[in-house]
Symmetry: C2
Subunit: 526 residues, 2 copies
């Protein structure tokens, strides 16, 4: 078993703490742009030329990575060790798309084979929906699929669907479109239902435990509406994605059920049936398989021992340098791709829920500040919004850019001598350099300090394989950061107290607590 300790206790930490940010105005050269490049799999590359740390600093990070056994800990995860130590669970999401360290078989159960068979079942089901062989209870083809889920059952699948909706449309693959209901606010479900025809709509209920209050409340609202539509049999319009031990499993209220298990955490479930059913139906099973193949490539790339050739590990360590040596508490994710409009929201969950922890794996207060606050919107939109602060604010926020050489859609007429695609990537190019190098001006208000570091993940096109690799890159980066901070990235104890207090407010007889009662009174929740 690996030694679990924080990077703060590594022999190189004192030397790391003494490092200053590199002066990017001088350090960022064309040569460095060509050399600080790492493949992440899925046709993507990771560029860290515009990060403000020098080679000796990277060497110190490499020493720490080796000392902390970060790669061994990855192997432990993907080999089925109980790495979610608080909840005493294995962490098996890598097996959803490959077997980076071989199969995991325990008590005769081959976990990878189980996930694979569920993927195949979802693919077969999707083909029947897409061909029209399986139809709604009034005989109409399904043209819309609505996922009912929250958190990991919503953000990841939604981000991936939006990332490939136009890609699929351009290829005439988008025979069924997706919508999502997540919020317990009934205005969410009512808004979605106002835009769909129940007869041609399939609902996917997603809850691993089968007990998520928001999701069950939304299911009840949807079922109640379906029941009001003449001729509709709700059980023919609902499928479940859940665990085999949940009350939703093998339940005649659903047309079919697809399974995950306790070893697939919500925020790591996008490549499981949680994402697989809706993505196979809307984009086609082949596209979903390509997402998994891209993710599997990134998982293999994350095995590389040399941190300069392991994008996920390097990204993790550079992030810790920014967070804990340079004291920068936020990260901005800035995709130059409208299709990735909700990808930052998924990463926000992935990162903040995994590493927003103040206690280490030994139950001691974390030696260092852990997970950063994550924000982000697509460029160029962000350029006309919050980039002002990124360029000229008092704090430095490290940036994570994402870009692609090609569009997903083909229509792109020239305007003022260039395509919109070229304009988009010219903007991305310009921003990286502007942040790093700044610009002097005699007018202090027009002075750009520069020295604002960024990374760039880029590839040819945002296709399923690239998307899968992008997703897995971030999953692995967050995992490595958790190891380096010696925290449990796989539980989420911080969600429990709110659930308990919500139950108190809703209890018969009222909350029985004066402050809860006072707020509930203001909000009409008694």
């Amino acid at each position: 078993m690996s030694v679990y300790k924080s990077i703060e206790s590594s022999t190189s930490w004192a030397a790391l703490l003494a490092r200053q940010p590199e002066n990017l105005r001088e350090a960022l050269t064309a040569d460095r742009v060509h050399h600080r490049l790492v493949s992440t799999g899925g046709g993507l590359s990771y560029s860290y030329a515009a990060m403000d740390l020098d080679e000796p600093t990277i060497n110190l990070l490499a020493v720490a990575a080796a000392e902390l056994d970060l790669l061994s800990q990855y192997k432990e995860v993907a080999s089925g060790s109980v790495m979610n130590i608080g909840e005493k669970r294995m962490v098996l999401h890598h097996l959803l798309r490959g077997q980076p360290f071989g199969p995991v078989i325990k008590d005769g159960r081959d976990y990878g084979a189980f996930y694979h068979s569920e993927k195949d079942r979802a693919g077969d089901f999707a083909r029947k929906i897409r061909s029209g062989a399986l139809r709604g209870s009034t005989g109409k083809r399904f043209e819309r699929v609505v996922q009912i889920g929250i958190g990991g059952s919503d953000l990841g699948p939604r981000a991936l669907y939006l990332a490939l909706e136009q890609w699929a449309r351009e290829r005439n693959l988008l025979t069924v479109r997706a919508s999502f209901i997540s919020n317990v606010d009934p205005d969410d479900a009512n808004a979605i239902l106002a835009g769909v025809d129940p007869e041609s709509t399939l609902f996917i209920l997603v809850s691993k435990s089968g007990t998520t209050q928001e999701t069950l409340a939304n299911e009840a609202l949807v079922k109640s509406r379906l029941a009001q539509t003449p001729g509709i049999d709700p059980s023919k319009h609902l499928v479940a994605v859940t665990s085999e031990t949940s009350p939703l499993a093998r339940n005649p209220a659903y047309l079919d059920s697809f399974y995950i298990d306790d070893y697939i955490g919500g925020r790591y479930s996008a490549t499981s049936a949680v994402g697989g059913v809706i993505l196979s139906i809307t984009l086609g099973p082949e596209a979903f398989s390509a997402i998994l193949a891209g993710a599997a490539e990134a998982d293999l790339a994350a095995k590389e021992p040399d941190i300069r050739r392991n994008a996920a590990l390097l990204d993790a360590l550079l992030g810790i340098f920014e967070r804990d040596v340079l004291g920068r508490p936020c990260v901005a994710v800035l995709p130059y791709s409208q299709a990735l409009s909700r990808f930052p929201a998924h990463l926000q969950q992935l990162d903040m829920e995994s590493n927003g922890k103040r206690v280490d794996r030994n139950g001691k207060p974390s030696a260092l500040p852990t997970g950063p606050a994550v924000l982000g919107e697509p460029g160029t939109n962000g350029q006309h919004s919050f980039y002002q602060l990124l360029h000229q604010g008092t704090d430095v926020i490290p940036l994570q850019f994402i870009g692609f050489r090609q569009n997903q859609t083909t229509y792109d007429p020239l305007f003022e001598g260039s395509s919109a695609r070229r304009k988009l990537n010219a903007n991305l190019t310009a921003q990286i350099v502007a942040f790093a190098k700044g610009k002097d001006d005699s007018n202090p208000g027009k002075q750009f300090p520069g020295g604002r570091p960024s990374t760039l993940i880029f590839g040819e096109e945002l296709d399923p394989a690239a998307l899968g690799a992008l997703l897995a890159h971030y999953e692995n980066k967050v995992m490595f950061q958790g190891f380096a901070w010696n925290i449990n990235s796989f539980d989420q104890e911080g969600v429990q107290l709110g659930k308990v207090l919500t139950g108190k407010v809703l209890a018969a007889g009222g909350p029985g607590d004066p402050v809860l009662s006072a707020y509930a009174g203001l909000l009409g929740a008694l």
Copy 2:
């Protein structure tokens, strides 16, 4: 004229710096919930019971506010002083919805009257669209309106439209629906165009200067597509919102044009024609007028000298206490209303673009850290995502909750004994208390430290007046914070360098800079 200085130079600053965060576990009582309430106008109230500062600290903030003449500076803004000092412009967005300090008349021009007449023209135009009196060039009624704009021409109008889309649908007011194109990524425009019928679609081009590259490129793409649709006259499907001196003004390429001027900053333009045309068309002119009436109420409420009775001023000062005394660099905006799904993105621009400044109004480095990083997503979704970090992360992020007693939509069946609305507000109640008070546990991983401060803005229902007041509350909060930091909240010099470098990349002959060339090469932008 007011004395321009930073709160750091106020006589109470040393005493403020010595203040510790209040212990919310003890300080947050039911009594405080009932007493720390301020009206913001529009039927909304601002609760600061769960903020971690005591009455003596608030008294110190009040001393600073008086010393810095914060209210006088507001008066200067709304009375037409040149408060955007870098660009030497007045800042007149308050006049879009009222005259909190009387009319502004200069050189015979009554600015408020001008804005009001443009609002009336937009209302008349909207009525013709909504009634079908004005139709597309092939005779079809307009059923869709697509705004083409970016930054302030996109985020504010989009957030407001989404905030009231269901409200309008429930009242049978939503005869025309809205979409938005903003990103220069052609996948954005192509995706929107794939979902609309050109014959029944009106496009609104929004650019104050008439030279915004992304917006003009998107217009060119849209026009090129329209020109391919047999029988369509593009000039009958396009209107412009711009300034009277722009190339788009009084241009026969547009069906009509509506005007703002240089004194309406992009991020403060949602209540101008920038938001007014699309909101009047989709929600009706009466709803837009109600938004303005709510905003005007909040503007009047912001004149109150007693900081305990001025929600915007108090919110501003409490935020500065968190930012600069307690050293908390982020803020999370958490609306418990799905309709406010994009409101945090608007606030992100409003706040970060206004106050992400490192130089004060005298051209000196800011004495204090200025504008925070802003993030946010609707609750309950965020609870299942990044709230983990908010509860148990190593950093404290002050929270700004928003909630309403009633739904916008009416369908809300009971499930497990309560409506979804009650569940939503029970969750909101529970979160405020969980963040403030935490919970002890012998298992360190299940320990909640508490002491995580929050404010709450709440009202009966998210209707147009409440939305207008909410918007203006934040505009005024951000304005007061800028005054207190002695920065210019009304310019955005930080966007310029990127534009210049983008132009270099796109220039004939290439960027002429090796680093730009290197990145542009990676991204295929040469």
